[in-house]
Symmetry: C3
Subunit: 460 residues, 3 copies
C-alpha cells in the first residue's frame, strides 16, 4: 500500500513540476502576446500617421498647382512651414488643450507632453493626464504623433483658401493660433472628453473636427482678405484664374488619397483587422464615387469634364466619408461619395457667386463636405442611422456638432484674423500681388529659366 502511495505522490509531484514549468512558459508566452499586440497597434498607428504626414506633400502640390506660377513658391513655402509651426504649437500647448484632462470645454494639462501617463496601459488600467486617449493601447508618443499630423492638416486646409494674397508672416502667426488653440479647443469638445463627445456626437476621423474646423477658419480668412485683384468684375461676374500646373495638382490629389488611407483607417489607432479593412474600402469607394459624380455633374453643368472638378470631387468624397467610414456599408459609402461629388461642383459655383474667392476650392471640399459627411452619419450609420431605422436622434446630435463647430470656429478665427489684420496686416501690397508673391515674399521664382506668358507675369 505504501508503495502505491509513493507512486501516486511521485506522479503528483512530477505533475506539479510540469504544471509549474508550464505556468512559467505560459506566463512568458502570454507576456509576449501582450507585447506583440502593443507592437502591432503601434506599427499600424505610426505607419498610418506617416501616410497622413505625406498629405502635406499632397496639399503643397495640389494648391501650388491650382494657383498661378508667380505665387507657387509662396504656396509651397507656406505648406512646409505650416507643418513645422503646427508640430511645435501642438507639442507646446495644442495636444494638452485637446486631449488632457480638464473640463468639458478645454484640456488643462500636458504642455510639452508633460504629466503622468502610463500608456500603453489602457482603459481602467490607464492612469495619467490624457484619459481621453486611454482607449488605445499604444505608447503616448505614438498617440501624440498621430494626433500631430492630424492637427497639421487642419491648418493646411486654410492655406489654399487664402492663397495668392496673404502675407507669409501673417499666415505663420495664424497657423500657430490655429493649431495651438482653435483646432484643439473644438477637438477637445468632440474627441477630448468635452461636451459634444458626452452628447454622443460621432465624427470618426474628423469630417468636422479636422475638415470643417479648417474650412470655417478658411472661410473667415477668405472673407477678411477679400478676393484677389482681377477676380470679380464691377458687374458682379467672375473671371477664371486658371491653374498653372495640373500635373502637380493631380499628383497632389493622388498623394492626398493615399494619405487618407492613413487618415481614416489609422484612426482606429489599433491593428483592429475587421475595422481597418472596412474603413479602407469605404474610404476608397467614397473617393471613387465622388470623382465619378463630380465628373458627370461638371460635364452636364459646365459642358466639359474639367480636371480640377474631378480632383475636387475625389477629395470631396474623401472628406465626406471621414466621419462615418467606421459604421456604414460599402453601398452607403458610394451614396455619400456621389452626393459629395455633386456638392463640390455646386459649392464652387456658389462661393463664386457670393464673391468669396477661394483659389483652390478648399471651402467646397473641406467645409461643405465636412458638414455633409458629418450629417450623413446620422443617415447612413448602420447602428444609429435614420435610413437604418434608428430614428432621427443621431442626425440631430450631428447637427448640434456641426453648428457648435461653426459657431466656435467662426468666432475665434474671426478674432484671430482681425487681430492679425490690425497689427501686422493681412495682405500683401497691390504691387506685390500683381508681380507675384514669390519675388515679393521670398525673392525667388518657381520656374527660373522657363518662359512665362506676359499675362501670367502680370495679373492674369
Amino acid at each position: 500500500m505504501m508503495k502505491k502511495y509513493d507512486v501516486i505522490i511521485g506522479l503528483v509531484l512530477v505533475l506539479m513540476l510540469a504544471v509549474s514549468a508550464q505556468a512559467q512558459t505560459l506566463e512568458q508566452t502570454s507576456q509576449q502576446t501582450a507585447e506583440l499586440r502593443i507592437a502591432a497597434d503601434t506599427v499600424w498607428t505610426l505607419i498610418t500617421a506617416m501616410l497622413v504626414f505625406f498629405m502635406n506633400a499632397g496639399f503643397a502640390t495640389l494648391e501650388s498647382g491650382l494657383c498661378r506660377a508667380k505665387n507657387a513658391v509662396n504656396i509651397l513655402a507656406k505648406n512646409l512651414i505650416v507643418f513645422a509651426i503646427s508640430s511645435l504649437a501642438f507639442w507646446i500647448v495644442g495636444f494638452g488643450f485637446m486631449f488632457a484632462d480638464g473640463n468639458s470645454l478645454i484640456g488643462l494639462h500636458g504642455w510639452f507632453l508633460s504629466g503622468a501617463d502610463n500608456s500603453p496601459a489602457k482603459a481602467e488600467v490607464y492612469s495619467g493626464v490624457f484619459s481621453s486617449l486611454n482607449w488605445t493601447g499604444v505608447p503616448l508618443l505614438a498617440k501624440f504623433f498621430f494626433q500631430l499630423v492630424f492637427a497639421g492638416t487642419a491648418a493646411t486646409i486654410v492655406s489654399g483658401a487664402v492663397a495668392e494674397r496673404i502675407k507669409f508672416i501673417s499666415f505663420i502667426v495664424f497657423s500657430y493660433l490655429m493649431v495651438g488653440v482653435i483646432y484643439p479647443v473644438f477637438g477637445h469638445w468632440a474627441w477630448g472628453g468635452g461636451w459634444l463627445s458626452q452628447l454622443g456626437f460621432h465624427d470618426f476621423a474628423g469630417s468636422t473636427v479636422v475638415h470643417s474646423v479648417g474650412g470655417w477658419a478658411a472661410l473667415m480668412g477668405a472673407i477678411f482678405l477679400g478676393p484677389r485683384i482681377g477676380k470679380y468684375n464691377r458687374d458682379g461676374t467672375a473671371n477664371a484664374i486658371p491653374a498653372h500646373n495640373m500635373g502637380l495638382a493631380t499628383l497632389g490629389t493622388f498623394i492626398l488619397w493615399v494619405g487618407w488611407f492613413g487618415f481614416n483607417p489609422g484612426s482606429t489607432m489599433a491593428a483592429d483587422w475587421a475595422a481597418i479593412a472596412k474603413i479602407t474600402v469605404n474610404t476608397n469607394m467614397a473617393a471613387c464615387a465622388g470623382a465619378f459624380s463630380a465628373t458627370v455633374v461638371a460635364w452636364m453643368v459646365l459642358g466639359k469634364p474639367d480636371l480640377s472638378m474631378i480632383l475636387n470631387g475625389t477629395l470631396a468624397g474623401l472628406v465626406a466619408i471621414t466621419a462615418s467610414c467606421d459604421d456604414v456599408t460599402v453601398m452607403g459609402s458610394v451614396a455619400i461619395g456621389i452626393v459629395a461629388g455633386a456638392l463640390v461642383v455646386a459649392g464652387v459655383l456658389f462661393f463664386d457667386r457670393r464673391h468669396v474667392d477661394d483659389p483652390v476650392g478648399a471651402l467646397s471640399v473641406h467645409l461643405i463636405n465636412g458638414v455633409w459627411g458629418t450629417f450623413a452619419y446620422g443617415l447612413f450609420s448602420t447602428s444609429n442611422g435614420l435610413f437604418y431605422g434608428a430614428g432621427a436622434k443621431q442626425a440631430l446630435t450631428q447637427v448640434i456638432g456641426i453648428l457648435g463647430c461653426g459657431a466656435l470656429v467662426v468666432v475665434i478665427s474671426s478674432l484671430s484674423w482681425w487681430l492679425i489684420k490690425a497689427t501686422i496686416g493681412l495682405r500683401v501690397t497691390e504691387a506685390e500681388e500683381m508681380d507675384g508673391l514669390d519675388i515679393g515674399e521670398h525673392g525667388i521664382e518657381a520656374y527660373h529659366g522657363l518662359a512665362q506668358t506676359s499675362e501670367s507675369a502680370a495679373g492674369g
Copy 2:
C-alpha cells in the same frame, strides 16, 4: 491512511484547479495569438495594397510626362477617372467574375460583394462563395481591396498606349469593360480556380494576369486607333514625338517602383516573413538589372543613354520579375531583369517599325515583358524551372497560359474597341488632336501661364 489519501486528493484537486486555470489563460493566449496573426496579415495586405494604389500616381505622372504638354490634362484625367471607374466596376461585377465560385471559365456569384463568406476563416474552415481566395486568412474586404487595386492597374496600362488621340468618354467606357469583364475573366482562369490554375500555370503576382492582359488590350487599342497625326511619314520612317516633362516621368517611375513593393510582396496576402523578404529583394534586383541593362543597350544601340529608356528598363525588370519573384534566386532575378532591360529597347524599336504608335512604350514594358516574365518562371523557378533540372513541363504550361491570355484578350478587347468605335466613336477630331486634347476634351490647359513653343502648341 485516510489522512494520506486526503493529502493526495487535496494536491490533486489543487492541481486540477491550477490546470483548469491554465487552460483558460492558454485558451485566451491562443485566441489572442490567432487574432494577432489575422491582424498582422491584414496590416500587411492593406499597407501593400495602399502602395499598389499609389501606382496610379505613378502611371499618371509617367504617362503625362512622356506625352506632349497639350495632352497632359487629358492623360491625368484619364488616369484618375480610370481608377474610380475600376473600383466601381470591380465592386459591381468584376470581383465576382474573377474570384467567386462558378465554372472553370468564369465566376458566377459575389456581385456587390454579396454572398456567404466567413473570412478570415481559411482553407477547409472557409465556407462562402469566394473559395478561390480561401488560402489567405484576412477579412473579405481586405482581399477585395488588394484585388481591386490590382484590377485598376490593368486598365491603367491601356491608358498610355492610346494616349493623345482617344476620346475621353470612349476610354471611360472601355475601362469599365476592361475591369468589369476582360480582366476578371482571364483572372478567373489563372487565379480564380479556372482551367489555367488547374493546369498548374504559375503567375505569382501577375506578369500575365495584370500586365499582359493590360498589354494585349493596349495593343488592340493602339491598332484600332491608328497612330497619332505626324508620327509616321509616307516613306515609312517615324518621327520622334518628344516627352514634355521628364521630371514628372522619372518621379512616376520611382512611384511605380515603390508601388511594386506592394504589388509583389503584398501578393502573399500574409505577413509570411520568409516570402516577403525574398520577394522584396528579388523585385528590387530585377528592377536594378533592368535599368542597368536598358542603359547599356540604349547607349550601344542609340548612341546615348536616353532617360526614357532607363525608365522603361526599370519598369521592364519589374514587370518581368512579377510572375516568378516568389520562387527564383537573387541571381535569377538579376538575370531576368537584364533580359527585360534589353527587350524593352528592342520592343520600342520593333513597334515603331511596325507602325504601332505607343506614346509611352507601354507595349514594350507590359506586354513583351509580361510574356517574358511569365515564360522565365519556367526557366528560373528553383522548384520547377528548366535551368534547375526540372524539365520543360512547367515552361510549356507557361506558354499555354501566355497564349491563352493573348487569345482571350485580343478577341474580347477587339470586340470592345470595335463596339465603341461603331457607336460613340474612338478618336477625337483631327483639329482637336492638333490643338491638343486638353482644350478640346476638358477646356483647360496643363500649364497656363507657362509659355509653349509654337511647335508644341501645334502638332509637334
Copy 3:
C-alpha cells in the same frame, strides 16, 4: 481502499493527459508567438526600407528642381541609375565588406550574399558570417534590403554636389566605388564590428555612416571638378544660379522627410514599440525645428525667407537627429534641429565664400549636419551626454568617429576621383556644359515644348 486508489490514479491520469495536451497547445502557441514576433519585425523592417527607397524619388526631384532646366534630365538619370548600380555593387561586394565577419577594418565574406547564415536566429543562437547583424531577428534578405537602401542614399548624396558638370559615365563609376568600397569600409568600422564600434562610437541611423560619408565624398568631388562655368567671378564674388523648379524641389523635400520616417525608426530593424514611437517623434520635431530656424535665420541674414533655405533647413534637422534619435528627449531633438537649421544657412554661405560650388547645398545639409548630429549625441544623449551629467567621454568618442570618417573618406574618395579624372575624365566639355548636359549626355530635353528663356538655354 483499492477503489479510492483507483479514483486517485484515474484523476492523476486524466490530469496527466490534460497537462500533456496543454503542453502541446502551449508549444504551438509559443511557436506561433515566436513566428509572429519575426513577422512583425520583418514587416516593420521591410516597410521602413521601402520608405527609405522612396528617398531616391526625393533626391531626384529635389536635386533636379534645384538645378537648371537644361541639366534636369541628367540629374534625374543619375539619381535613378545610381540606385541600380548601388544595388548591384552592394550585393556583389558591399554588404560583405560592411557586415560580414573579418577584422576590425573590413569584412571578408558574404559576396553575393553567400556564406552560412541562420537568421532570423539572433544573439548567441545566431551562427553565420554576418555576426555584426545578429542583434536583429529578421531574415537575412530583410537585413540586406534595409542596408541596401541605406547604401544607395550615401551615393545619392554625392550626386547633388557634382551636378551640372560631371560626365554621366564618371558618376556611374564613382557610384560603384562608393557603394562597393568606400561606404562599406567606414560602415564596417562603425556598424560592422570594426574598431569604432568597439570604441563605443554611437551613430544610431547614420549621421556619420551615411550622411557624412556621402558628404565628404561629395566635397572631394566638388573640389576635383571645380565650380560650374559662370558661378564665380574674377573678383571672387559669386553669382546665384537659380533653381528651375521649386515645386519639384519642395515635393522632393517632403518625400525625403517621409523617407526619414523609414530611415530612423526603421533602424531598430524590429517592431520595438517604445523605440519606434520615440524615434519617429524625435525625427519629426528636429525636422520642424530645422525648418523653423532656417526660416528665421535666412530671413534675418538674407532679408527674405528663401524657400530653398527652408527646404535645406528641414533636411538639416533630419540629418542632425539621425545619430541620436534613439536616445534624446523631444526637447533635445528640438534643440538639435534649431542648431541644424542655423548651420545650414551658415554652411551655404561658407562654401560659397570658399568657392566650393555645391549646386544643391548637399555639403551644408549632409556633411556639416552629419558632423553636428554625431557630435550632438555626446551632448544630448540621455544616457551618455555631457548635458545629462555623463561627462565628456562620449563626446570625445564621437569626435574620434567624426575625424576617422573624414580621414578615411577624404583619402579613398580623392583617390577614386583622381583615378577617374586620370582615365575617363571627370567633366563634360565647356560647350556641353553651356548647352546643358541633357542634350549632350542623353540626347533629350527635360521640357520639350515648354519655352525657355534664352538665359537658361545658355549659361545662366
